[in-house]
Symmetry: C2
């Protein structure tokens, strides 16, 4: 598609209760604008889940970003990638020339809207918050495919190992399989170190038309879908169908396949999530995602590193910011700017975020984007 | 622009604590889809301010609306019109064929994110909630232009008089100027009957390409802007510049002017809002908006009725739903389906919503759309 990423930026991710959301946004946006070929912004899409009304305008007018269309978008954990997707589409369609996509979440003091027992939502009333939902997916997957608790733990071990080299990540301590399994149980079989931490953070990207020059980072394709109907009778584990349908459409639009991908940032909010997602992205056959971990296929140094940033599990998961932090990591990797965690010769990168879920459907939303260094 | 409204629908507006947001959405969307030429929906934009994450997917999957792109948008009081604006733009740009715009807000039990003293936002910390902000605008306007308290009250009298004939409106009792002024003081000079009531509601519209046939309702133009910098040193009353800049752009894109407009639905969250807005829309000179009320110019039966539905003041203001309820009223008026409150020979209608504000800027966002019966 006819869109290039000309600048990215992020704040530090982690518990930062003393920072106002504005300050998180400023750090991310200032870095992205400083990199951009043309910092004249024509429109802004900002992703947030629990941000207060006007969180975008509140932060951005201090940077002189006023008057232009500003739209806040929400798609659960995929809010940041939804902002990115809309921004890229608007450039492609010629609606705007330079579009800023931003994501922000201040979770340490603004998590009021979260699923809770007094909610009108069935998930809240039943106690089926996200950790429980992923735990049910994990036990179903284990029953179907013989996945072990150790296999699940290996996702956490890999991603914590990657985050050691990411100085913007929340958790930078390496962990062993035994440590992961010995951490506090949250929702069986998911222990604490298999659940992404609550974080504050912001991330941003500037999208513009490609110039046709060498070493540009272009968006080969970007697809957004919402989940189809899903319940216990469905053939696949929860989330698989939505991610695989979105990925298939993204590969088709880009004219490439899973083996062409050099580096992936995907939605590992819980360890089982990365296993199901890497299968849905076509990196492994269904039921065989654990092999990617056992063989080192998805570790930095292996053929297709997944979550070299540390992923949501280690970088932290400020909901609306996550998708754009994934984009930033892929852009750094494709530029060769990722330092110690650099994936060799990375030319094509994939970003995937799944937001959700709501009882009865296979995820609220999923975005898969394919980026390439020309 | 190349977009037509082929169906609209709304729930009843008012305090409906026993209804789930889903039920509000179903009523609005079912009505809109039943009217639409083609109920095959390719994408959905849903506007809400305080709706919980997934409020769109939660409601819509029960109607079979899954799989397609669904994006929740927020722009304060302009969230519903932002959904409408994006939907119309996507049809115009050829990105999607049939797009559903929905707005919903359940305010009787889900107002948690509102401005409050514990907030990190300066408005919350200073007590400058929306009634206070509009009251400051009112006193400044009174000081500048000699507007009387009776002039302010006349907005409420007119709009309550209109709502008597709208069986979906929250408040249908007519009121006199004396009654409006005698109602409880909220933020001087704004009394209770000059402030829009908290409501639950949903509204929807289906956008598709025009067929070129007679009696279609087409979108002549739609413009979305965010506010520029504003403080006490600014030349105009708060909100004027944003609405007038947005309106000027909408008129220019449609190739018409204020005198071509037959009927208006505008943002009268507080009485002063309608006075400033009608001036910003070019229906009166700056400082002379009260004349429109004294002469009956904007009353149904007059030359340019404003808020024939009863407006936010009487229909109620479920934030995310309001913009699409305004669109629905204009569509009914242009079709000649508005019953006792029908504006004679209405051919061109204007919708305006302003969302905000955030300290330091002239409104978070404003949408002005011009609709026409071909």
């Amino acid at each position: 598609m006819n869109a290039a990423v000309t600048g990215v930026g992020t704040s530090f991710f982690g518990k930062q209760p003393d920072l106002h959301p504005n300050e998180l946004v400023w750090r991310a946006v200032a870095e992205a604008l400083a990199e951009a070929d043309d910092p004249t912004i024509d429109a802004i899409y900002l992703g947030t889940v629990f941000g207060s009304p006007g969180v975008a305008q509140r932060a951005l007018h201090h940077m002189g970003l006023t008057g232009i269309p500003i739209i806040t978008v929400e798609n659960a954990c995929a809010s940041g990638t939804t902002a990115f997707h809309e921004a890229a589409k608007m450039v492609e369609l010629g609606r705007f020339e330079n579009v800023l996509a931003v994501g922000v979440e201040k979770m340490t003091d603004n998590f009021a809207g979260a699923i809770h027992p007094e909610s009108t939502d069935p998930e809240g009333r039943s106690g089926l918050a996200l950790p429980s939902l992923y735990a049910l997916a994990a036990t179903r997957y284990q029953a179907l495919y013989g996945l072990t608790d150790e296999d699940l733990a290996r996702v956490s071990v890999k991603n914590h190992g990657h985050a050691v080299h990411n100085d913007r990540a929340q958790h930078r301590t390496p962990h062993t399989v035994d440590e992961v399994l010995a951490s506090r149980m949250i929702a069986d079989p998911l222990t604490l170190l298999q659940c992404c931490p609550i974080a504050d953070g912001a991330a941003a990207a500037v999208l513009s038309a490609p110039k046709g020059s060498a070493d540009e980072i272009v968006v080969r394709s970007s697809v957004l879908k919402s989940g189809g109907l899903w319940d216990y009778r469905s053939e696949h584990v929860w989330g698989f169908e939505l991610v695989s349908a979105t990925a298939r459409a993204a590969y088709e639009a880009a004219g490439i396949g899973p083996t062409d991908v050099d580096v992936v940032e995907c939605h590992d909010a819980f360890t089982i999530g990365e296993i199901v997602t890497t299968e849905a992205l076509g990196l492994a056959h269904e039921g065989e995602g654990a092999l990617l971990l056992r063989t080192g296929h998805t570790t930095v140094g292996g053929p297709q590193p997944v979550n070299p940033s540390g992923g949501l599990l280690s970088r932290g998961h400020p909901l609306g910011a996550t998708g754009l932090a994934q984009v930033a990591e892929i852009v750094w990797q494709l530029r060769g700017d990722a330092g110690v965690r650099q994936v060799d010769d990375a030319r094509i990168g994939l970003v995937e975020t799944m937001g959700g879920g709501v009882a009865g459907i296979d995820g609220n939303a999923c975005v898969v984007a394919l980026l390439e260094r020309t």
